[in-house]
Structure formats: structure tokens, C-alpha cells
């Protein structure tokens, strides 16, 4: 069964009247932990930009609005979603159109997260229908708002398990005039992370810091992105080249198309697209990243966020299993989640007991019948 309500009220009625589990879906490009017996509930009917004020850096749109539509409207005013949401399609081999609601529900951010912040940091307000069918509004459309509890953050990244987003308000930012990409080749993982830490600890406002391991055909590549006016990028690139001189030759490329392609490759985990095997996403303390990867033999890694984000590919029969990954990360602080693999079970990290108790409590409050995306956000079994 599939439902695509066109209004918030219809959506509320559907949820109130639901008799079984619902699988909430935007564009369907990020299928995680699907419950096989659930009815599909799509937000695509709740589409359209409701308000866009470039002078106030604010955009409000229906949750089902295609991301492409948003990006087009912003580009026309020289603005963008600064958190650079990842497109999962090529990594997961899915079809469909990513929606704004999907991005928010999964708190999807890209390489610029280290400097600009995550999706949740740009989220000003939400409207949501919870598991009881209540229409709830939280936050608003202004930049600073501490009126009451921040349910906006709670909803971001909750994968539709507390409620179905119907409308979101976002802060947007101007697109800078110029992008420069610094490139160092041949560094080991540890050397690369040290160089990236050095760059991120400089005053030169790095907006991307990634390391791609060596493959069969090419050497390893470490990328650093700078954005701003032409003069500013040139100046900062020069300073960083001097700062990182000890790491080897640092080249600068200011071609906009190549820069866009390079960072889309990092953002969408290009190296693992089309490769067989499970893909994991690890959030860790940057300096711990190379050590964690070294503990997982057979795994291939792509480092983003200066090492704070590790994309891991565990080739089929790679020998490393979920529990080992969770253990390696937990020992050094951080968490891991499997984003590609067995689609029937989502690979969420286990939580400490008191945190899990709060999470369960919240879920029972907002979805007392347990009908919203059952199975999602539930820590994977340790087997």
C-alpha cells in the first residue's frame, strides 16, 4: 500500500487512522532498514517553496520538495545550502529524487560540515506530524530562536521515527566567488590527517579537508578546499602552501568545474560507488582516524572532515564484521553506522543504557503505537 497526502491535515488523518506500521519516504534514495510489512507513506505531495527571502538568508519549503528544485532557486540568487548535502544514489544504487525532508530526516551533510556545520545547524524550524497524528511546530524562520525546547534538532536525523516532517525552514548562505583546491599526493593516512589537522587549525578557513587512499591505479590524494573572493583564496592558498611545505608538494587548482567534481566525488563517496561490499560511516576524533582504520584489516577508507568522518568499504568476505567496527570506534570515542549492506536491518550504533532509555522514552511519547519506521534507529544486534 502507498499513500501520498497532499496536505498536512490529510497526513495527520492518515497517521491517526493507521492500523499498522508505516514506512516514511521522501524520494526513496536512502532506503535504510525497511520494514517489509509496512505501508509506504510518501511526503512527495507536500512539495513546494513556501517562502524565500534572500535578504534574510531564509528559505521555507515543503518536506517533499525535490532538493534539485531548492538548489535551482537558491542558485538564481547566488545562494546555496552551505552544509552540502550528500547524494546517496550512486553509492546505494538507488533511483528517485532526493527531497528536502529526506535530507533533514537523515541529517545529511557533506564536506563543508567541518566549517559551516551540519544540516541540523542550518535548520531553523520544522513542522511535523508525530505518531499520535499531532501537528507540531517548533522553531521558526528566524536565525536565532531559543523559544522553548529545540525539537528541531531532535527531528533532524531522527529518520522519521518521531514524526513525519511536512515543512522545514533553513538558513541559506551566499555562494563565494571563487574556490581553490590544494592537493598533496602520496601521503600515508597518518601523514594526511596530520596535514589536514594543521590546515584546519590555521586561520585560513578551510571548507573541505579530505584524504583518498591510494588505489590500484593512482597514488593517494589529500584535498583541501578554500572558498571566498579571488584575492582571498589566492592569499590563503599561498599561506597554506607555506604552512604545509613539509608535507610535500602542494598544488593549487582554481578551476571551478574541477573543484566541483572533486568535492562531489568526496561528498558522494565516489571511490566506493559501484564496488561490492558493505559501506560504513564512522564519526570519530580526527587524530584517532588512521589508528581505527589500521585496526580493521581489509577495509578501505575515505577520510572526510579532516579525518572526523571515515567512509569504510568492507569488501565482500572482507573479514571485518559489525561488532569489530563498533568496538574499534567505541574504544576511541565515536560511533559507526552501516549505510550499505543488508537492507532489512539498519546498522545503527549501540547506545549506552541511560541514553538508550531516553531515546526509547522519547519514541514512546511521540509514537506510542510504534508505527513510524519501526526498526529504524534501533541499534543493530551485536551478532
Amino acid at each position: 500500500m502507498s499513500m501520498t497526502p497532499e496536505t498536512e491535515q490529510d497526513l495527520a488523518a492518515i497517521i491517526k487512522g493507521a492500523e499498522g506500521p508505516l514506512r516514511i519516504e521522501g524520494g526513496g534514495t536512502r532506503p535504510l532498514g525497511r520494514a517489509s510489512n509496512a505501508a509506504r507513506l510518501s511526503t512527495r505531495g507536500l512539495s513546494g517553496i513556501r517562502l524565500y527571502e534572500p535578504g534574510a538568508l531564509t528559505l521555507v519549503a515543503g518536506a517533499g520538495t525535490p532538493l534539485a528544485e531548492i538548489e535551482e532557486a537558491l542558485a538564481a540568487e547566488g545562494q546555496r545550502l552551505a552544509f552540502e548535502p550528500m547524494d546517496h544514489r550512486d553509492l546505494l544504487g538507488t533511483e528517485g529524487t532526493p527531497t528536502l525532508g529526506g535530507v533533514v530526516a537523515a541529517n545529511v551533510s557533506g564536506p563543508r560540515r567541518i566549517q559551516a556545520g551540519a544540516c541540523r545547524d542550518f535548520l531553523l524550524g520544522v513542522r511535523v506530524v508525530d505518531g499520535q497524528g499531532r501537528i507540531i511546530r517548533n522553531g521558526g524562520r528566524v536565525m536565532k530562536n531559543v523559544t522553548g525546547y529545540d525539537l528541531v534538532k531532535l527531528m533532524a536525523g531522527s529518520y522519521g521515527t518521531l514524526g513525519v516532517l511536512t515543512e522545514v525552514a533553513l538558513k541559506v548562505l551566499p555562494v563565494p566567488g571563487c574556490t581553490g583546491v590544494l592537493r598533496i599526493e602520496g601521503l600515508s593516512d597518518a601523514e594526511a590527517i596530520r596535514a589536514l589537522s594543521h590546515a584546519l587549525g590555521s586561520p585560513y578557513e578551510v571548507t573541505g579537508a579530505a584524504h583518498l587512499q591510494a588505489g590500484a591505479a593512482q597514488t593517494s590524494v589529500t584535498l583541501i578546499r578554500l572558498e571566498g573572493s579571488e584575492a582571498s583564496v589566492a592569499y590563503r592558498a599561498g599561506e597554506l602552501q607555506a604552512l604545509l611545505a613539509g608535507s610535500g608538494a602542494v598544488s593549487l587548482d582554481t578551476d571551478p568545474d574541477r573543484a566541483a567534481a572533486d568535492w562531489a566525488h568526496v561528498r558522494d563517496v565516489g571511490p566506493f560507488q559501484g564496488c561490492a561490499g558493505d559501506v560504513w560511516r564512522l564519526s570519530v576524533k580526527p587524530t584517532e582516524a588512521p589508528g581505527i582504520v589500521a585496526e580493521l584489516p581489509g577495509a578501505r577508507a575515505l577520510y572526510d572532515w579532516g579525518g572526523g568522518l571515515i567512509w569504510l568499504l568492507i569488501p565482500e568476505g572482507g573479514g571485518v564484521a559489525g561488532p569489530e567496527i563498533h568496538a574499534a570506534v567505541a574504544a576511541r570515542g565515536g560511533h559507526a553506522m552501516r549505510v550499505r549492506g543488508d537492507r532489512s536491518r539498519a546498522g545503527f550504533a549501540p547506545l549506552p543504557a541511560p541514553v538508550a532509555a531516553l531515546q526509547d522514552g522519547l519514541r514512546r511519547k511521540f509514537d506510542p503505537r510504534g508505527i513510524l519506521n519501526p526498526g529504524l534507529m534501533t541499534p543493530m544486534e551485536t551478532s
Binding site: D121, N145, S197, L200, G201, Y235, T287
Partner: protein, 478 residues
């Protein structure tokens, strides 16, 4: 301001409570003499006050946990307090409550420059977090005007902002992890030195929950490398409306300064007396700051000045030295206190869409005439976070009530134009009863559901945030 009746049963067990607290805390960390508890009867909002039953000053997470467990067991409400600088009455006690002050927990636990994170006890003041890392060239970005005195604990409770959050974001955008003690004494870690913790964003939920979900004893904060330089420019205008239009144009042009601050004439004069910053005497002043190398600063200020000139500024001057920049900011950050020279005031904190600035400033001016109370304006113009200061005479009967009514009208106006009641100070006690103007019953119910989960007995920071009638049933059940 209506507060719940103190529970006589709790009051009658005060001696027992004090004795038990003294078994887990040092003697001088438990204060129960009325002569002494009175100093804790209010915070930065002195219009409302009530001495607490007991004050405790624990020195560690473990002491906090043990003390909370005792209060939980005895059903005694607890009001967490940072430095007591809240302008919303966020740390206002009830007569049957225990004030839990974190001022004795102010140590730096770990500084990690490579991962750009510092771990501190939350009694540490905001500015001294930067103080701990500035020798290495780093800083902690959120800069509430009270940053000299306000504690990280309070910053987290209120999700504090500041002048520079136009670029760097507010507390929630710079908070990576916390140690949270629940009302029953359970200690848990949320987040850490890594980004985007597992599970629901409980860290984001805790931040800004006004001390009602738990007591935060330690925090991991993101630190950033200081920019090479920063320079403010002062731009004076003949009217607030013109200044507001200029702000909107600057943002629309794609230049994003780190801060755009606004002050009107009464504020300019009061702060100039204190800081001698060389502010021009004009109807409306913008302080616009940009960062970077000298050349980058020149480039950005060039663009900003070109936009400003289209609005016929009556004064336009860049800061000429680090000392002058410091004085400019010292004046701005002391604006609330400096207004104290003129008399009593109530400081509001609504946010509005930037485009509505001229309209709202004009309406506030009109209402000032209607209520017969003066208003001074000082605020973060770049993000529409307004701080109208209503001037009144606290010793004149009826003036406070008049001031409250005026304040409520201004905040309703903020909501009406698409904004909110509070941008960075929090709801506290001050805006509690206005919450229904911004939120429908279901919106509030959803927030109170969260409270039910974290603090089922509703003991933490009672009578704040939610209108008493809205929370009545839940508190009764608890």
C-alpha cells in the same frame, strides 16, 4: 509573576534535607541560613525574586549526582545556576527549591588543539574558555555580551548566542559533547570530541532546555583558530529605519560580516560614558566587523562601505587600532549594564526577520509613546535579534507592571511579523506566560513530553518555560 505555592511538606523537611546533603557535600557547600540564601534569590533579572530553601555548591560531577539523587528521593525541586547572569530569570528559585550552583566547577579538563576541542567543567566562564586557549591562537566562538561572567553551564542551558554568531553560530553549533546528570543522579555522556553523535540528537535537545532536563557538569566545546585580524567599522545614520535598510542590503549583497550590531542614541550615549569608544552621536549606529588578513579586511570593508554610502550615513569610520576595536566592543558588550546608569530597565530579546526591522523599530517607537516609557535599542541586527530595553522606575509603584505590559506587546509584535519571543536569552520566567502566543497547545505538549521523559517528576528548574496552566496536569501527575 505567578509562582506555584511552596510545598509545605518540603519546607517542613528542610532540616532533614540539609543534614543529608551535608553527608555528600563539604560543610561550606551547603548554605541554608536565610541571611545567606537571599543572595541567590534572583539572577540578572532582579525584578523577580524569591530566596531558595537551600543553596548547594558541589565541586564535582559525583557530588552533583549524589546531591541530585537525594533531592530526587525527597521530591525537592532543584534550580541549576551558572553565574546567575540570566536576563530571563532562568535561575529564579522557588521557596521550596534547592539552588545548585556550578561556580566551583571551573577547571579545564583537557585542551586538544589538533582536534580543535576543549573539555571544561561548566562553571567556567565563557571568556575564560578562550582565555585557556588564546596563547595558542585559538578561541571559543559564541560570545554573549555577558561572556566575562556567564558560565558555560548557563550558555548551554539557554543556547546562548552573541554578537559574532552571525558567522560562528550559537552555543548549539559549537557544542560537541556533555556530561549530563539527570535528576535521579544518573550520569551520562552525550557526544564527545567527534561530530554528530549516535542516535537522536539529544545533545541538541539538551542545549537550550533551560536546565529542565538535567544538569550539565562538563562540556566539550569546539575551539577555532583566531582569524589573522578583525576590524569593525562604525556607520552612523539619521534614523533607525535607514540603518535597518542598510543591514538588509549588506546581507543581500552576499557579504557576510562576522557581526552587525545596532545601537540607538540613548545606548550610544550610555556606553560611550563607560567605554570611551568614540561612538558617533547619532540616531542609529551600526558596528560591522569583518575578519581576515589586512587585505581581506580592506576588500570586504570596501564593499560594505560602498553599500552604506548609498544610505547617506552621517558617520563612517573604521577602527584605527586594536585598542580602539577593543573599546568599541567593550562598549557594545557592556551596553546593558551601562544603561543601568540611566535607571532601571527590562531587557527584551525577540528575533524578527531582518526585513521587518524598520517596521518593528517604528512600532516600538510608537508604543513607547503610548505606554509613556522610554525605550533604548541595542541588538544583533545581522540576524534580527532585538534587545529593546524598556526604561522604568523600579521604586515607583505600578511601573514594573506597566513595563511588563509594554514588553509583552513588543514580543507579540515580534511573533506577529514572523519572529519569536526569545533569540538567545531563553524563556525563563520572563516569557513563560507568552509562550502560548508563539506556540499552539500541541506544540507545547510536544515539548512537555520531552520534559516528561527526562524529568518525570518535574523537579528540575520548576515553573519556567511552560505556562503554569499548560503544565498543571503534568506537574500534578508527577
Amino acid at each position: 509573576m505567578q509562582m506555584p505555592e511552596p510545598n509545605p511538606d518540603i519546607l517542613s523537611r528542610k532540616a532533614d534535607l540539609v543534614a543529608r546533603l551535608r553527608t555528600v557535600l563539604p560543610q561550606e557547600a551547603v548554605i541554608d541560613d536565610l541571611a545567606e540564601t537571599r543572595a541567590y534569590e534572583c539572577d540578572g533579572l532582579s525584578a523577580y525574586k524569591c530566596p531558595p530553601m537551600v543553596v548547594i555548591l558541589p565541586g564535582s560531577t559525583q557530588e552533583v549526582s549524589r546531591a541530585l539523587a537525594i533531592c530526587h528521593e525527597m521530591g525537592v525541586p532543584v534550580v541549576p545556576r551558572g553565574s546567575g547572569t540570566s536576563l530571563a530569570g532562568g535561575a529564579l528559585p522557588t521557596a521550596d527549591s534547592v539552588i545548585l550552583g556550578v561556580a566551583r566547577m571551573a577547571e579545564v579538563i583537557d585542551t586538544d588543539y589538533e582536534n580543535r576541542v576543549i573539555r571544561v567543567q561548566t562553571g567556567r566562564t565563557n571568556l575564560s574558555v578562550t582565555g585557556a586557549v588564546e596563547d595558542e591562537g585559538f578561541f571559543y566562538a559564541p560570545d554573549p555580551s555577558s561572556q566575562l561572567a556567564c558560565a558555560i553551564a548557563g550558555n548551554i542551558a539557554m543556547n546562548s548566542g552573541g554578537a559574532h554568531c552571525l558567522k560562528y553560530g550559537v552555543t548549539t553549533n559549537n557544542l560537541l559533547g556533555v556530561t549530563l546528570v539527570q535528576m535521579d543522579g544518573t550520569v551520562m555522556e552525550l557526544g564527545g570530541a567527534h561530530l554528530d553523535a549516535a542516535g537522536y540528537d539529544l545533545l541538541g535537545l539538551i542545549c537550550g532546555s533551560e536546565g529542565q532536563l538535567g544538569v550539565v557538569t562538563e562540556a566539550s566545546l569546539r575551539i577555532l583558530r583566531k582569524p589573522e585580524g578583525a576590524r569593525p567599522v562604525l556607520i552612523g545614520f539619521e534614523s533607525s529605519e535607514v540603518a535597518g535598510a542598510c543591514v538588509s542590503d549588506i546581507i543581500k549583497a552576499g557579504v557576510l560580516p562576522v557581526a552587525i550590531e545596532f545601537m540607538d542614541r540613548p545606548c550610544i550615549r550610555a556606553t560611550e560614558d563607560f567605554a570611551q569608544a568614540g561612538y558617533p552621536d547619532c540616531a542609529a549606529l551600526l558596528i560591522v566587523e569583518v575578519e581576515g588578513s589586512d587585505a581581506e579586511i580592506d576588500e570586504q570593508l570596501g564593499l560594505i562601505e560602498a553599500i552604506a554610502r548609498r544610505h547617506d550615513p552621517v558617520a563612517l569610520r573604521q577602527s584605527r587600532s586594536a585598542a580602539e576595536s577593543a573599546a568599541i566592543w567593550k562598549g557594545r558588550k557592556s551596553a546593558f549594564g551601562a544603561m543601568g546608569q540611566l535607571g532601571d530597565y527590562m531587557c527584551l530579546d525577540g528575533t524578527i526577520p531582518v526585513g521587518a526591522l524598520p517596521h518593528v523599530l517604528r512600532r516600538i517607537g510608537e508604543m513607547s509613546g503610548e505606554f509613556g516609557l522610554g525605550v533604548a535599542n541595542v541588538f544583533h541586527a545581522g540576524d534580527g535579534n532585538m534587545h529593546p530595553l524598556i526604561l522604568y522606575d523600579a521604586n515607583k509603584p505600578g511601573d514594573l507592571e506597566l513595563c511588563e505590559a509594554f514588553g509583552a506587546e513588543i514580543l507579540k509584535l515580534c511573533v506577529e511579523v514572523g519572529g519569536c519571543l526569545t533569540g538567545e536569552h531563553g524563556v525563563g520566567i520572563e516569557k513563560r506566560d507568552l509562550m502560548a502566543h508563539q506556540y499552539d497547545p500541541d506544540d507545547l505538549a510536544a515539548q512537555m513530553d520531552v520534559k516528561d521523559v527526562f524529568d518525570p517528576r518535574w523537579l528540575l528548574n520548576p515553573a519556567k518555560v511552560f505556562p503554569l496552566d499548560a503544565s498543571d496536569t503534568r506537574r500534578r501527575v508527577a
